[in-house]
Amino acid sequence: MELDLDLSLSPHTNSSKFGFCFDLNKHCATEGMLVEVVHYEKTKQTRFESMFWLDNMEEDCYVPKPCSFSLNGQPDEEDEDPLESDSTIVDDEEEDGEVVGWPPIKSCMTKYHNYRHSRNHPYHHHGRRINIPNPTATIIGLRPSSSSTSSPRSSMYVKVKMDGVAIARKVDIKLFNSYESLTNFLITMFTQYQNCDREDTSYKFTFQGKEGDWLLLGDVPWKIFAESVHRISIIRDCPCAYTRLLF
């Protein structure tokens, strides 16, 4: 089961659909997760945590080491917890943890691209015509169009937030076929970074469906869950170092 490790950061205003992804696979040893940086809530000392190369920090703030870019995968930066570097590059209020102003594209262009990528746009897949009723021989210079229809999206990324962990992850639900495989995967993923013993902890999984209600995992058959889940939340009992982030 191959999952792509992507850190999804996209420009802030207009929620640009650029949503460029940079591939942490190249930088981190870990595989297989879509990591999304989440902005801390305002009440916490977010301004500090959001910069990961600080000296002179107050004692009780979580201080990632300066230059802790394990993202660059350089061999001398071992023992760098990827989370340290992950908890960064966050700027604004956006819950989705988007990076403002990156890539550096002017708003008129992002506005246009959002429009293009939206459902309203007649040529949703740039330049390739879809559902054109008889593009006609009456048009001069008609040439074969450059390709096929697009394939339907085959992945469904859903945000997963574990209690006490600042950073939410995204997983592709379509890659799983049962609750057990999903929950096992999630637990493994989170405990890898939490220094928590998985045996010691009890986890409670809830999910939010299309209607906005929070339900317990397992309340609905897997198939229905897989189609309607919007986000997942995990509550656990094991306190660990990272809960310091909250206080």
Partner: protein, 585 residues
């Protein structure tokens, strides 16, 4: 013996001195040259509206006819400067209305322009001829109507990428029937539809109209009739190019294009359908500038178009052109001087766009006049940069945006230090550089060592330590504008090189590690600088060691500005806060 030239002679000589840089040099020679120069300068360019007061400018240049101003820092283009920061045009317009009522041209970039401003312009400057607003905001179409109705000798009205409150297309109908002087009209950034009949009437009574840039709402049909009315156009920005036309309409449009014998610049082309590309073939050989940033066609169609553009000097295109398309550009467009390749967001659609570093390498190999590149790409290699530098030592502007922060050379996994070294070392006349990808302090050592002509530098997600900033500030002799975001340096380099900041126009730093205390210290020690701390989420108590969100430092003769919003902190605004015991070494 009086060796001075009579001022009449000086005036005559200076009348041949056009560029502002030269005029600035002239004015430094001696007092009489300063006086003569200032009394004859007609075009004034103030690159930072807060560097000098409007009154001082009006006083120094009484014969000013054209004023160009820039407001917000460049990173405002990418939403890094919060709304309300500043850059207001009003104080300038108010001052000029009083002191320079003969003003004819106003060009503003990244400024806040309100309807009141526009109304004031309309009411105050009797000979007003040109209004060019680039990346401005704060006004509505009502303000445009005020300009249209009152400025009887209007030649240029250009809104380039402005954010306008669009209250409808009526504003266009306010141009009086007596207005026949229009040379350039650009309303491409507006959203709503203007009445076609108004537009046609305006165009038909403007025999001098050379540049027309329509907004997306002007239909393809309408375009045809407009082109027939203005075959003399030199610059055309079309509206949306995707309406379905019947064969007759298409052939009429095609004919209209063939009549555009003078056309040199083409833009717009929103959503252009592949089957309409051939309509443009007739103008291609004459084009020197082509903006396909909104032309959502695939590589084969782009190649068909570009292979006919043998005189093209400026090309802006999306990455849909791919490496193959750029190879075609390389072989067909030998006159190319400027290339910009923008991301189309294809990843979102899960299509693979085959644009890599190779595309830029091909163009650099084959286009001898290539001077300026802006290139968005998923990844790059040192080898490519070295090749580009070797091929094109005449490059003056290199802006490479590797979209993935910290991306190393994708073949060797090394930082891109060596590649950028080749660029700064090889391109000795390089004036503007934007770097990206994985970069260590070494890259900046190279830039400091070799980038002697570098004036503007943009950096994001790079470097390791204070050394990076130190190399830049101590090495780049010509450095004028430096903008940095998300880089890991602290106070040391900044404070050590404080004196350098007075030789630069401005420095922007955001999400770096500079502390509040350093800002205070810098403000105190360097009175000719405005040190602005921009912090939308300030802590209740701000210890000196706390890092600041954003800092904008610029030299100024005007002293602290009085129009700062609450989220901007300066020492002048807050004199009661003492300075910490951090020392400038």
């Amino acid at each position: 013996m009086d060796l001075r030239l009579p001022s009449k002679v000086l005036e005559h000589i200076f009348s041949f001195v056009d560029s502002n840089e030269d005029r600035n040099s002239v004015s430094l020679v001696c007092k009489s040259w300063f006086e003569t120069e200032r009394l004859t300068r007609k075009r004034v360019f103030v690159r930072n509206c807060y560097a000098v007061t409007p009154a001082a400018v009006a006083r120094r240049f009484p014969e000013m006819r054209s004023l160009t101003l820039k407001g917000k820092p460049h990173f405002a283009d990418y939403n890094l400067v919060p709304d309300g920061w500043g850059g207001y045009a009003w104080p300038w317009i108010e001052a000029m209305a009083e002191k320079s009522p003969a003003l004819e041209e106003l060009r503003l970039k990244r400024m806040v322009v309100t309807d009141e401003c526009l109304e004031k312009i309309a009411a105050s400057f009797k000979e007003f001829k040109a209004l060019v607003l680039t990346s401005c905001e704060g006004f509505s179409t009502d303000g445009l109507a005020a300009i249209a109705v009152a400025c009887r000798n209007l030649r240029e009205l250009e809104l380039r990428e402005c954010i306008v409150e669009d209250l409808g297309g009526d504003w266009l109908s306010y141009f009086p029937e007596t207005l026949t002087s229009l040379v350039s009209l650009d309303f491409s950034c507006l959203d709503s539809e203007v009445k076609l009949s108004d537009l046609e009437l305006l165009v038909s009574r403007s025999p001098n109209l050379k540049s027309l840039k329509l907004n997306r709402d002007v239909s393809l049909d309408a375009l045809g009739s407009l082109l027939r009315l203005a075959p003399q156009l030199v610059e055309l920005g079309t509206g949306s190019f995707s309406d379905k036309l019947d064969q007759e309409a298409v052939s009429k449009l095609s004919q209209a294009f063939t009549e555009l014998k003078e056309l040199k610049s083409l833009s717009g082309l929103w959503d252009v359908l592949p089957e309409y590309i051939p309509l443009l073939y007739s103008v291609c050989p004459g084009l020197t500038s082509l903006n396909l940033s909104y032309a959502t066609v695939q590589m084969p169609d782009l190649v068909e178009l570009l292979s006919r553009c043998s005189n093209l000097q400026k090309l802006w295109v999306m990455d849909l052109i791919e490496d193959k398309g750029l190879e075609a550009v390389a072989s067909s467009c030998k006159e190319l001087r400027e290339l910009r390749v923008f991301p189309s967001g294809a990843d979102v659609d899960e299509t693979n766009v085959a644009l890599t570093e190779q595309g830029l390498v091909s163009v650099s190999e084959a286009c001898p006049n290539l001077e300026s590149v802006l290139y968005f790409c998923a990844q790059f290699t040192n080898e490519a940069l070295v090749t580009i530098a070797r091929n094109r030592p005449n490059l003056k502007c290199v802006r490479l945006c590797v979209m993935e922060p910290f991306a190393p050379d994708h073949k060797t996994q090394q930082p891109l230090d060596e590649g950028f070294k080749a660029i700064v070392e090889g391109c000795k006349g390089l004036q503007r550089l934007s770097v990206s990808g994985l970069l260590t302090d070494k890259a900046f050592e190279y830039i400091g060592t070799h980038g002697k002509k570098l004036r503007m530098l943009s950096i994001a997600f790079a470097g390791d330590s204070d050394l990076m900033l130190h190399h830049l500030l101590s090495g780049c002799e010509s450095l004028n504008k430096l903008e940095i975001r998300d880089c890991p340096f602290g106070d040391t380099a900044l404070l050590e090189n404080a004196a350098k900041l007075e030789t630069m126009r401005s420095l922007w730093m955001s999400s770096c590690g500079v502390s509040f205390g350093a800002c205070k210290l810098l403000s105190q020690k360097m009175p000719k600088l405005n040190v602005e701390v921009i912090d939308e989420h300030p802590l209740k108590t701000r210890p000196d060691s706390s890092p600041v969100e954003k800092i904008y430092i610029y030299r100024t003769l005007a002293g602290p500005r009085l129009d700062m919003p609450e989220f901007v902190w300066t020492i002048h605004k807050n004199p009661e806060i003492g300075v910490s015991n951090l020392a400038i070494e």
